[in-house]
Symmetry: C3
Subunit: 449 residues, 3 copies
């Protein structure tokens, strides 16, 4: 079981640079696919994730109720362009799938420049960038292009073609379930509904996939569920179909925007002080130089759904730059150059450390609670001196002093201002020497051999 | 009922500058009257307030027990002076009623300058100002004058006349009761026992009177009681006669020193975290640039009585400059120039906003609590973009997310860091669309049409 | 009883400078004795303390179990030296008892310089200082000397003699018990196991002894127990033999390092918010300009044992410089010059103030809780004005306002930001006037005549 020290260290000892390169390659493979909240792009994406980890794929028919929502028609697109009088494509879907507003209805027609302009979107502040726009719930069509492109269009007539379809079909989502020693679940959720955007979408997909890959290889205390869902409607659909089982979710993280160069941001769950909240805050504090922790707010990614009051699940959200706060957000500048292998590797490493804490946390009882036990005769005094030996001894003393059955190891680590791994190692040694025992019913039995 | 959006906005939309001028005129009308804790000055003041709002006037006979106190004899004064050998008045009550120590016993006699000095009070640091002094509970007489006046008196003999009476009579106080939908009360209390002092006394009287005037015109959720009482003995007498009904008081504010140019000071109730505490802090934070919030202490105005441990009512105190902390306090410099129309108007406006929150606060339940409801198909997405549309949408999301029956709207506004009015408007819209319902027994039924 | 104002002020009114000189003389008397965790040095130390205060001395045989530990063999030393080829002593126990590692096994032999070096300890950063080392639980011998001494030793052969004995015997500790009105105890504990070290050891012994001396002379509400014990094994032995009675310990302080010139450090008990924690923090805040308050950690002195989870006693630790943080710690520089009479006197005074608060604290009920009682007719208004009269009046108002049976006087003093003594004096006056009564079962009955 992953609670065992060897399993834990095997899991979290990764070569972040090398694995970051692999993650970036995987993102590069998925990048060209034109995803939306339904359609072949999602199916193809899921297929490729399924090449790496075991996936259950669900297809939910158009019209299916999903809590307060209804699964929409399926959207697919084959081609789209604007051609000038000479037939030359001046806007071409084949060059960037961002050129078409997602869920645009099919359209063919000739428009003059003024008419065309009413259907175009640009990013005036960044004249080279193409924006990303959607129109899921109102029937319309639109084209996104750079401000430069728009300004370069001469007066005249243009042929517009949006060769898309919006028909009854299915919403596609996938989940990777890795059973553990208990049915209590750790949920990871990422969205798979954005077309060629690297950080906002694919970085979360990559971290989730690589996490699942590594977790699949080790024994696990918790069961793990990785959701690859279209944003909002996907998580709502999953919640609608699984609402009787959500109480199994003991910890959860929404993963997104994890590939850019910024420091980490952790957004707390709605409850704000659950074990996942305390764990991520602890890991970030000890693992990385800078980090931002913010309280829950009802905006962002699918934590909005998991933390709606009727579910109120212990689900936080981990990202680097926050959605909507970086200029590249929802533009063509959120590309393969914007996500960095080193950042991706570090995001994976931090998430593995979160799992290491959650797997290894538990509550113990000091079996010799009156006075300090004599560590010396049990070989628990550091053999050599120096700062690490002092830390080792302090970890033993903290665990003994606080283990009255009411303080979990994570809480002890926080009070001692020491990394969880040192406190957990001390607990393992004390259990080995018969000075400490797990509390019956404690979440942790992690040190079982 | 005032909880209705139209009533609330009708109440709180005042022209602060214009109404501030009217308040200042009212203060100017009351300023010359020689008030004390009993007597004709109080009666005349009450009569003039009664010209604006409905008042019940109580006359409580001398000797009546009032909790640990006893209603004192009634004091009245007709004239007072010090005349020099030539008969010229060198100190003259007709010029300023501050010249006589309040509750001075009658006196007539001839004194030399040294003897006279033993009965005089000045403000040496401000040689032009006359101090305000009282001697309610020890029988003596005294004269207040400016340091300049005192220094200008030549040696010689002086005729002193204090044509006052201290006889069995009555203590006078008045209350304006405005019944609401419930018997739960919002209490406002101000003191009416100071003679020609504008900020410390009359500013509170003016804010109370103008508040009552406005509240009388609208439907009310709470019942409102405005007390116009002599300080200490007046509130004690009212409490003694109403002690079986004080549990109806759900919120209360003592109003004083609300006309000077300083920023607001809110002094919390003894309990410190009641709804009135949280409301005033919220309103000040959003309504004015600077403000000071201090914890309760057992000094100040009549909050001392309302917050004594046997009552412990949820009553705070709102002022601008705090009693005793500004140099003009209890001197002739607390005059009509010291109180500003704009400050009076703003004080009224802030107090109306407090009422707006208290009237509109309540606890709701999201009727579609699992996942976010689809706002778009209910016309709840902002029609046009921009910051105010974003705020509008965030207000809706906050109310939906937090309305699990445990968080009142004020608490939601605080968590969202938004003004109450925006949160309340969002709640009204959600109720209208059937997405939200008030919790049975919640204090708020404000959105009833 | 000490709760009486006269007793309290008699206790805490000391001439800190003069008594500091006496404490320093007492330290000077004990300084030369070679103490360890057992042996004649401890016995002689206890004998001299017993010359000042009544002591019960316990002798606990080698091999006696003490919780998880066992009482070790008794160590005694008569002489020790290193002599050069000419027979001249180059290291001499008679010059400093720090020269021998405490609990060194007997040894006689001839060693060359390299062999000798393997048994020596110095303080390289402070080449004139001799370190203090121990080897209680591993059988070895060693010599401590200054870096200068070591460097001055020429190549050659040396005769080493450690004329010590390590044999079955006893562990010695002493306690001074001063019974009070109740069996509830205030525990003071200091260690007596260090040889010639002045701050780390003897300053705590001196403060404890002088405290007991003063307390013995007054009536006491609590019973007081002063423990003079070898560090760790001594407190463990005492706890083992008294574990059925520790629940009597209502407050406790470990005293150590109280003679140096640094500001005070208070280390909170494991529980962190007990009455002793709040009391020491209050006293330090009002009594001294600077102070540091730190949370409990499982290192330091015998608070480690008293605060082990099986006991979890309300015991904090008071010191000036903290153990291990000053360069003189555990070296010959922790000498009679390092401890200052003025610092010792102030440490005693602060500890007496702590006792004054603990003895005088209690919960009262305002007998006239509705409105303020009329202080004037009860002679409770200050006779003369000025800041101290204002403070006096505020203390009365605070006690009346907060005494609803739920707030102890210490809590009232904290809320009023006033020294406890002023709040307590106000309570005494209010009790005298019949306005206040102690709550049945309250810890305080202090104002009984």
């Amino acid at each position: 079981m992953i609670g065992r020290p060897d399993e834990r260290s095997r899991l979290s000892s990764i070569d972040a640079d090398q694995v970051g390169q692999e993650m970036h390659s995987f993102i590069a493979e998925l990048f060209p696919i034109c995803r939306s909240i339904t359609g072949e792009g999602v199916r193809e994406t899921v297929r490729r994730i399924g090449g790496r980890i075991p996936l259950d794929v669900s297809e939910v028919p158009t019209g299916t109720p999903a809590l307060d929502w209804i699964v929409p028609r399926e959207w697919n697109i084959r081609d789209a362009y604007v051609a000038d009088a000479s037939g030359k494509r001046v806007i071409d879907f084949r060059e960037s799938n961002l050129h078409v507003v997602s869920y645009s209805v099919p359209f063919r027609g000739r428009l003059d420049l003024d008419q065309l302009r009413e259907h175009t979107y640009t990013v005036p502040d960044h004249p080279e960038w193409i924006p990303y726009r959607t129109s899921y719930y109102s029937e319309s069509w639109g084209l996104c292009l750079s401000q430069r492109q728009l300004e370069a269009l001469p007066e005249g007539e243009y042929d517009v073609c949006i060769d898309a379809s919006l028909r009854d079909g299915n919403l596609t989502y996938a989940e990777c379930y890795l059973p553990g020693a208990t049915e209590d679940e750790f949920l990871f959720s990422c969205h798979i509904c954005h077309p060629s955007l690297a950080n906002d979408n694919l970085s979360g997909v990559a971290v989730s996939t690589f996490l699942a890959e590594r977790l699949a290889r080790v024994e696990r205390r918790y069961s793990y569920r990785f959701l690859f869902v279209p944003g909002t409607i996907g998580s709502l659909t999953w919640l609608a179909r699984n609402q009787d089982n959500v109480e199994r979710i003991r910890h959860g993280l929404v993963l997104a925007c994890l590939g850019d160069a910024a420091a980490f941001t952790f957004k707390r769950s709605r409850r704000g002080d659950t074990e996942i909240d305390r764990t991520v805050e602890h890991v970030l504090r000890h693992a990385v130089p800078d980090q931002t922790v913010i309280d829950f707010d009802p905006y962002g990614y699918d934590e909005r759904q998991y933390c709606s009051p009727g579910f109120d699940l212990p689900v936080g959200a981990l990202s680097r730059s926050r959605h909507g706060t970086f200029p590249e957000y929802h533009t063509s500048a959120d590309n393969l150059a914007f996500v960095r292998p080193a950042a991706l590797g570090e995001s994976l490493a931090v998430t593995l450390k979160v799992i290491e804490v959650i797997e290894g946390n538990g509550t113990y009882r000091n079996l010799s609670p009156r006075g300090e036990p004599q560590l010396g005769r049990r070989g628990l005094y550091p053999s050599i001196g120096g700062p690490s030996a002092e830390a080792e001894q302090m970890a033993l003393l903290w665990v003994l002093n606080q283990s009255d059955g009411r303080h979990a190891l994570l809480e002890i680590a926080e009070r001692a201002a020491m990394p969880f791994s040192e406190i957990r190692r001390a607990a393992d040694r004390l259990v080995e020497r018969g000075l400490l025992a797990p509390v019956e019913g404690s979440p942790s039995v992690g040190s079982d051999p």
